[in-house]
Every structure is written in structure tokens, then in C-alpha cells.
Symmetry: C2
Subunit: 581 residues, 2 copies
């Protein structure tokens, strides 16, 4: 036994116990007569005391301990004279009688502190040291707890976790696959799954009834910031269910996780349609921790000879509580923000609701005080508020205003990372027009069922066909999405046709699923959560990278193990491939 | 809601309830006045009753239902007149008032029964139908339960499940890797992990203290029977532990699983060294559900002018309880068995201990009744027993006799699949001589620590160096194995040297791990369980395939999805590879 206790558990009730601890040297303070060493392990920090007068050899030995040395000590728990009330072990220390060096350490390339001096590159190269830092360690532990609580919730409700294969078949549809050359099947390749979608549907056909899996997925995309080539999903599917059953089950899971992991009770779990979300927030994943809902203002803004408004498909505003105190400079900065290429708006109209009941707008030339009063009525603005208005083509304008809304919320501190506001967005469009290929493609995936009443529009007005598809949004991030699937072979065929698959293509890629649908497929549906994102948001952060033990960088490289790497000619030959020159 | 109850939960206490069920038509019996349909779902089977006189339309509709049709019914729970006491729902049936066809089914290619008429190929191609059969379904459920109970046990003991990457780096050492071409890093490849070994060691260096993961691993081997290119491990590692801590922790896990999943209490959890196991059973994974331990008989067998024995390094026998009743023909068959190429013995000597106290052996020419009596004393044989003796070079003879022992146990019904006999085998050799490369290689892996007292033999007598390595054996199968790792950089260097790595090779392949060892690696060790095998044995079966939802065949193919498959030229080009002609 290398320890009898951990560095996080001793307190005043343990005084006078003889114990053995092991851990890392966090800090070493030589005060002359006394030397104090902070010993750290996963569980906490315990202070070790060495007295020069009582045992000079031991004390000398302690003084030589460098940062991150691994040691074992025997000693007695004693009460501290000067207590530290910030940590649970702060009332005691260990009077050490024996010290064993288990392993020395070079000086680490960055400090193992909450706020480290290590840059990103260095932290990633020495990720095993980075994880020793409390913030990263806590993220990894949070992730583990979210997984564990997810399983507890689903296990208790009759779900079985079932593993699906990682070596599957490449499908050109959707994002790029990672592929794996098969040595035994010359010239052929496996693909790594982008999700277990078809397998979970097959498990429903197989009668497994309720399935889940916390599962790795792979996508060979050009990595945008904060995307990983391998990522984790909580993947779920249920048979003999309707949309309502699924929404209730996973609203329950979300409540459970927030309660058990964050001790947060979610009172409200609103639902809105995709159309409503776009109309009220200009986004299919609105952050509803704060207001600033969109107000459509065509009626009070148009026909005043202001051509920007008059020529616009949509005039839409938001009311910024207390925003009339923004300075001219602040308003200019905001206007510059909406004009940046990534937002792409032509301009921004503001109207300050002054404390004295008057209005000051950037379009005073065109709008009288009475006109502006109508704006304020429309926007339910009070004295001290600021109305911001944008105009133009509907979709683009909404998108720009949505960005502005989030930007302002950030500026005003309304995106509180301790608050959690989940939301279901329902009735997504089934199809999405792809400018590039000039074809419709499935907004979720080709197995999503259309709303029964909309099926006839597939031929006449495809973009208006709504799907039995839903997203779970948390704090402005899509953390999950799913749908009721098609379980009827003929409807699936129809869908493939509308997605531009020839019968041969559909058969080649999904023949086994369409075959399966001939043998008594039950009605079914499911959902998949982006597990990395869920953990990051629950941890109050926007970036997923520090919630993954060993992440890759934006070029898909693991800089710690230096991968990917070259492989030798022999290996390539065995795999029947060679490099293109 | 497509159902209010499942097909497994209704019984006499539900009589007169109005319920809705959904499921598959298992059986349809038209008895003229009455039609009975067995409705099946994951939870069980419930009988549906249709009365021709009361509702002829509905009854006609029911008669047309084919096998595996998916239906929904409303009706009343009523008491059956003729009860079936074999199933929990056997006292009731549903008097159906409404029947909805949810999906039709083609006639399945094999019967969905416990004993199916489907051959292996067909079952694999239509695995989603195969899983509907109770034996397969129960295996998949058992697997899910073993995983769930494993997590419960480890979570309760302070382990965190931490995900390690699947896209890692190829290491030529050991079995072949599957590799994944990187599109973004031209000419370079990721590898899929054969195990998370190095990452779990890095997590210990990172201070995570107790790690586990139920994780997929990949090995591109020529598949022997019952091997899969992707398989699952319960992978565990602990810091600040000695071997004893690990043995206790995972003996506890094994007890927990057998108790919770099989309701079996394991009384005894013996340990033996590798040397003892080889001496007593000729195997490092002895099946100790039964006796027939080896008895070394050189002293009573040699120097009797029987040259086969006299020239042998080892003469070794087993006592077969009650085996004297074997006929001459049976003995011939057994002798033929040991002479088959896979056993490779030259012959077998037997000695029957007759009921009258005399002996009848196949070597009566050389051995007197008194000699044979000595054999019987040595083997503690009683009247009615049979002594079987083999002789030759020690290792080969032990191996052959071990095979014979298992063969006889099978024949005599001693390998009871409801009995569970776990065993730790300890003190494995560190190194193994490889005839082919004429080099020593690591018996477990290159990170296994040698016994402190044996380190000096690394130079003088490498084959005699024992490792802090252990295997967990269950019913004659290795279900887990592990070791205390090397945490000292210098010792790790020494090991690489003895394994024939140049410093450059070691650095290139494991440099990051050796670097990590410079920054305060704690003493650590762990274990990995073969999860597929563990599930199969707990399910009382030898083959792992039916404990995997979607297994591959012996050529590494998934015949259901028809994978691996060709990929198009475009994709190859993007990946910067081409096929060898």
C-alpha cells in the first residue's frame, strides 16, 4: 500500500492519526526552522511539515524536493497553528516522520497552477502535465460524471447500451468519411462512422426497443475552430414512439443532468417551432437566457420616404433595455460590427428613448417624434432603452440581427454561464436548398420523416415540407437533435428520389436498411447529443477542447504523440496502397 | 402513444384493464371460431384473442396477419381459459377491440425461434432479424448489463471513465495496426489503437489516479476462429498501487459481476504462479472447474527399460475418475486425438485401475502389477479410475496433456457452463523467445515491470526474469491481464534495449511516453479485460460472435452492410493514395 489516505480527505477529525500519503510536490517553502511542502493528488492538497530542530536530516531532504517530484510520506495528522479556511484540509498538516522519493521530475515547462504561464501549443504537447492543473482536471471529471449520469438515467428507463461497429462502409452522402484500407480484402476500404445512424435504426428493426450508446464518431472535415475529427455522441433510439414520447424522455435526461451534475433545477422547458425561432430570434438555436426578441416593424417603419426601409422585405428591431446610455462611440462600434464581412449588414438604425420622453434617432430626417413614439410603443420600450433596427432581405437581415443580439448580450453580461436555459426547436424543414449542387438535400439526414400533411408538397413546394425533426438547444448552442424516422420502405424510396439518388445509388448505399424495412420495421425515432459540446456548456465554457483529455489541433494533429505520421513502405505494400506523388 | 403496456408485463392482476400493445406477430393460429395471435416485443409475448362470432371483420383482419407483421391493438385484459404456466403473461390474454397494421413484413428468410432454421451466413446477412430471436437478444442484453455493472462497481470506487483517442499513431511493435490516411496531412496516416495502453499510462502521469474505459480496440490480424478485427476491452489503470491492490480491486469486480449478473457467489478466488500453472495444468489459463491435475511421474516410470519413458525429460499423468470403464474403442479414439497434428503427441500410455484391485495398462510388457500399483499410489487413484500418461520434452508434453485434459473434461461433462471458477495466474515471465525473429519480446507489453529481484538476470538469464504481471482466468479462458508498469525512465530504457529497440526507434515510437516519465510519473499499474470473451463466458458460451450485435466474419467482412467496399477514385485522390496494381 503506497498510501492509506488521499491528499483531499484529512481534516480536524483525523488529528493524531498515523497516515501514509503519496502525491506530487505542489510547492516547497523553506522558512528556516520549518519547511512546508504542499502535497497534491487528484483529491486535493495536504500540507506537510518538516521541523529542522526535531529532524534535520529529514528536513534537509524535504528542502531538496523540486516541483512535481513524486513522494510518499508517513506521519501524524496534527492541527495547524495558522489555518487555511479555503481548503477542506486547511485545518491540519502532517508532521512527517518518513519521506520516500518515488520519482524525481524535471522542472515542468509551465506552471501547474489554475492560471498557467503555458501557451496553447506547449499545453497540448505536454497535455499530461496540463491535466494536472485543476481547471482541466475538473473538466475531465465533469465529463465523466455527465456520462455516468446519462447512463444512470437511461438504464433506469429500460434503455440498453449496445455497441455498434466502428469499421463500417463509406457513404459519399454528407461530410467526408475517414477510411481504413483492408489488408485482407484487397483494394477495399472500411469507413469510420460519422454516426451510428443506420445501425441504431437496424436495432429498432431488430426489436431492441430502447437503445443508447455514448459513442465516438468521425468526420474528415476541414476543421473550423473548435471542431474535432473525432467527437462523441450520446446516441439514442426508441421504437413504438411518437415525437412527444421522445421530447419528454430527453427533456427528462437534460433535467436530470443539470440537477445531478450542476445542482440546477430547470423550471421551464419551452418549445417553439423553427419558424417561430427564426422570426423571434433569427436563429434555429436561440439563446433564451435573455430577451431582446425581434420585433417586426414594417408597419411603423415603411412609407416614410426612407428608401432603405421602404425597399426592404423586412424591417426588424430589438429593444435594448437601458441602452440609451450608450455613447456615440459605442453606437459607432456596434454599427461597425454589423458591417464586418462576417455579419454583412449594410447599416444599423438606432433610436434612443431619452429619459425625458423624447427620442433621438439616426434617422431623424425621416421620422418625427411621433413616428419614433410609435416605434417605442411597438417595441414596448421604456425611457432609457435603445431600439436598434435593421432592414433588408428577410433571411439575411434576421441572421445579421441575431448576431447583433448575441454580441450585445455578451457586451451587457447577459450570457451568464451559470444559468441554463434549454429549449426544444420543433418542425424543422425537411429539405434545404444547396446553392452549390443546386439540389435539395436532407436538413437532418435522409431517414427523417416528413410531416404527414406536408408529404404532398414534396412535389409542389419542397422547401415548405416540414419534418418530424427537433433540436435541443442549450444557451444558444445546439446540443442535440433528432427525428421520427421513416419506417416505411416506399416513403424512404420517395425521399431518396427527392434527394436526387438514383435507385441504384440508394440501393448500393442503403440497400441493407431498405431491405430491413421490408421485414416489419416498427415506428421509431431518436436523438443524438453532441457530448463534447454538452460538457463544455455544462462546464460554463464555449470551447470543447479542454473537455477532451487528448484533443487534436486545428490541423487534425495530436502534437503530443506527433500523429498522424509516416508509415513504412512495407506496411503500405501489405495494405495494397501507395502514395500519390 | 403507440402503447400503454409492453408484451411482457401483463398478468392476472391486470384483468379488465383497457390497454394498448404494439409488437410483432410471432404466431397466428386460426381455430375457426377463434383466432389467436402471439404478439412479441423485447419484453415478452402476449396472446391476443379474436372472436369470429363477436366481431367477424376484426377476426378476418387478424387471420391475414403474417409472421413478423408489426401491429398495434387496443383491448381488454381477460383471464385465459387454458393457461400457459411457462410464461409470465400466460394466465391472461387480450380481447382485442381494435387492430392497426403498423407495417407489413415479407416472410423472413429464417424462423424467428430459439432454434432457428437459418444457417450462419443467412443469420449474419439478416442480423437485424437474428437479434429478434430470444437467445441472441438475451446475449446482447447480458452484454449491456455486464457493462453497466462494471461501471457501477468502478464508479463507486473513485474511478473515472475517460475517453482516449481513436485516431492515434502506428507502432510497428506487436500485431498489425489498421491505419487511416490523413487528407489534411498529406502522405501521413493515423492508426487505430490496439489498446489505449500508452494513453492510460499518460493519464496516470497526469494525476487522474483511477481510470477506466470500456473501449473499442482494433487489430489487423489474420482472423483465427472467434477473433474480431474490432473488439472491446474494459481498460483500467490505477496510480500509487502495488500488485496486491490491483488484484483485490479486480477480484472484487469479478465477484460483483458474477453476483449481479449471474447471481453466483464465488467462494474461492485462488492464485497460482505461472510456473505452478504450467506444472499442474500445462497451461497459463487452466480451467479449474474440475481436477485432473498433472502428476509428475518420472520417479515411478523411469528406469524400467521402457525407452519412451526413460528417454523423456518429463513423464506426466492425470487420473481420470471412473475412467476404467472406457472401452478399448474409446481409448483408441483418445489416443488418436493426442496424435492429431494440432496436439502432436507421439502416443499415450494408459493404466486402468480395475475394480478387483488389479491393473491393466498399455505397457504391461514393461511394468509389473507392483509398478502399476506405485503409479496408482502416486496418482491417488482408486479402483475404477484410469491413469493416462504422456512423456517427452517438458513444454510440449505439458501442452499436449493440457489439451487432453480439456478434451476429457468436455467428454465427461465437467465443463459446466453454469459454474464459474476464476483464478489469478501470477508472476508471468517478462520475456518470451521468438523463434522466428530470434529475439526476446515482451510477453505482455514493453511497459511491464520486472520483479525487482530478477532485474539482474536481464543480462544473464533473460528467460528467467519474472514480471509483475498477472492474468485473470475464468473457466479456462484468459479474460483479463495486466501488470505493474515501469514508471522509471531508466528502467524503461533498459527494457527497450533488451527488446532490441535502438534508442532512435524507442524515441520515435514511444518518445512522448518516455518524456512523460521525466516529469514525475507515479508508480502505477492496471489491467484490461477482454469484454467480448467475458460476456461470452458469463453467457455460458465459448464463441464471442453472438455476444456482438454486428460482428464480422472470418475474412473481416460485415456481410450485412457488405463492407469493406470499393471507394471511388475521387476519394482516393483526396487522400493522396492510390491502389497498388
Amino acid at each position: 500500500m503506497l498510501r492509506t489516505k488521499t491528499c483531499g480527505e484529512l481534516n480536524i477529525s483525523n488529528v493524531s492519526e498515523e497516515i501514509t500519503l503519496s502525491g506530487w510536490v505542489q510547492k516547497n517553502r523553506d522558512l528556516g526552522g520549518m519547511t512546508f511542502v504542499d502535497l497534491r493528488d487528484r483529491y486535493g492538497i495536504t500540507q506537510l511539515a518538516f521541523n529542522m530542530h526535531e529532524n534535520s536530516d529529514l528536513c534537509e531532504k524535504a528542502r531538496k524536493l523540486g516541483r512535481e517530484f513524486v513522494i510518499q510520506v508517513n506521519g501524524e495528522v496534527i492541527e495547524r497553528s495558522s489555518k487555511n479556511t479555503n481548503i477542506s484540509t486547511g485545518e491540519i498538516e502532517i508532521k512527517v516522520t518518513e519521506l520516500t522519493l518515488l520519482n524525481a521530475s524535471k522542472t515542468p515547462p509551465f506552471t501547474i497552477e489554475d492560471e498557467t504561464d503555458g501557451g496553447d501549443e506547449l499545453r497540448m504537447k505536454y497535455r499530461y502535465l496540463d491535466i494536472r492543473r485543476a481547471p482541466i482536471k475538473e473538466n475531465i471529471i465533469l465529463r465523466s460524471r455527465v456520462a455516468s449520469e446519462t447512463r444512470k438515467y437511461l438504464d433506469a428507463r429500460g434503455f440498453y447500451e449496445i455497441e455498434t461497429p466502428y469499421l463500417i462502409k463509406s457513404t459519399p452522402e454528407g461530410a467526408r468519411d475517414f477510411v481504413v484500407p483492408s489488408r485482407m480484402n484487397e483494394g477495399q476500404f472500411y469507413a469510420l462512422p460519422q454516426s451510428p445512424q443506420t445501425f441504431k435504426q437496424l436495432l429498432m428493426v431488430a426489436g431492441m426497443d430502447k437503445y443508447y450508446q455514448i459513442v465516438r464518431c468521425f468526420r474528415d472535415e476541414d476543421l473550423r475552430a473548435d471542431r474535432q475529427p473525432e467527437f462523441t455522441q450520446i446516441d439514442c433510439e426508441m421504437a413504438f414512439v411518437e415525437q412527444e414520447d421522445i421530447l419528454n424522455m430527453f427533456e427528462g435526461l437534460t433535467r436530470h443532468l443539470l440537477k445531478e451534475v450542476k445542482n440546477v433545477e430547470v423550471s421551464d422547458f419551452p418549445r417553439m417551432t423553427y419558424d417561430e425561432a427564426m422570426k423571434m430570434y433569427g436563429s434555429d438555436k436561440p439563446d433564451i437566457r435573455f430577451g431582446m426578441k425581434f420585433i417586426e416593424m414594417n408597419d411603423v417603419c415603411q412609407q416614410n420616404d426612407f428608401v432603405v426601409f421602404d425597399s426592404a422585405e423586412l424591417v426588424v428591431g430589438i429593444n435594448v433595455k437601458g441602452g440609451s446610455s450608450f455613447t456615440r462611440k459605442e453606437l459607432d462600434t456596434i454599427t461597425d460590427f454589423v458591417k464586418t464581412p462576417q455579419i454583412g449588414a449594410k447599416g444599423l438604425v438606432y433610436c434612443k428613448c431619452n429619459e425625458d420622453g423624447t427620442f433621438k434617432s439616426s434617422v431623424d430626417k425621416f421620422f418625427s417624434q411621433e413616428d419614433l413614439n410609435n416605434w417605442a410603443d411597438k417595441c414596448k420600450s421604456s425611457a432609457g432603452d435603445l431600439i436598434l433596427v435593421m432592414a433588408g432581405e428577410t433571411e439575411k437581415t434576421r441572421k445579421a440581427l441575431s448576431n447583433l443580439r448575441l454580441h450585445l448580450a455578451e457586451k451587457l453580461g447577459l450570457r451568464n454561464s451559470d444559468a441554463f436555459a434549454p429549449l426544444w426547436v420543433l418542425d424543422f424543414p425537411l429539405l434545404e436548398w444547396d446553392e452549390e449542387t443546386e439540389k435539395y438535400h436532407a436538413m437532418h439526414h435522409p431517414f427523417t420523416s416528413p410531416k404527414q400533411n406536408d408529404i404532398e408538397k414534396l412535389d409542389t413546394d419542397p422547401s415548405r415540407v416540414r419534418a418530424n425533426a427537433y433540436d435541443l438547444v442549450l444557451n444558444g448552442n445546439e446540443i442535440g437533435g433528432g427525428s421520427i424516422r421513416i419506417h416505411d420502405k416506399d416513403l424512404q424510396k420517395l425521399m431518396f428520389k427527392h434527394l436526387g439518388f438514383t435507385e441504384e445509388q440508394a440501393k448500393e448505399q442503403f440497400g441493407f436498411l431498405m431491405d430491413a424495412f421490408e421485414y416489419g420495421a416498427p415506428p421509431h425515432g431518436g436523438v443524438a447529443f453532441g457530448f463534447d459540446r454538452l460538457c463544455a456548456i455544462m462546464g460554463g465554457q464555449e470551447s470543447i477542447r479542454d473537455f477532451i483529455a487528448f484533443p487534436k489541433n486545428n490541423s487534425g494533429r495530436d502534437v503530443m504523440i506527433d500523429s498522424p505520421a509516416n508509415i513504412d513502405e512495407e506496411q503500405l505494400k501489405e495494405l495494397n496502397i501507395k502514395l500519390q506523388k
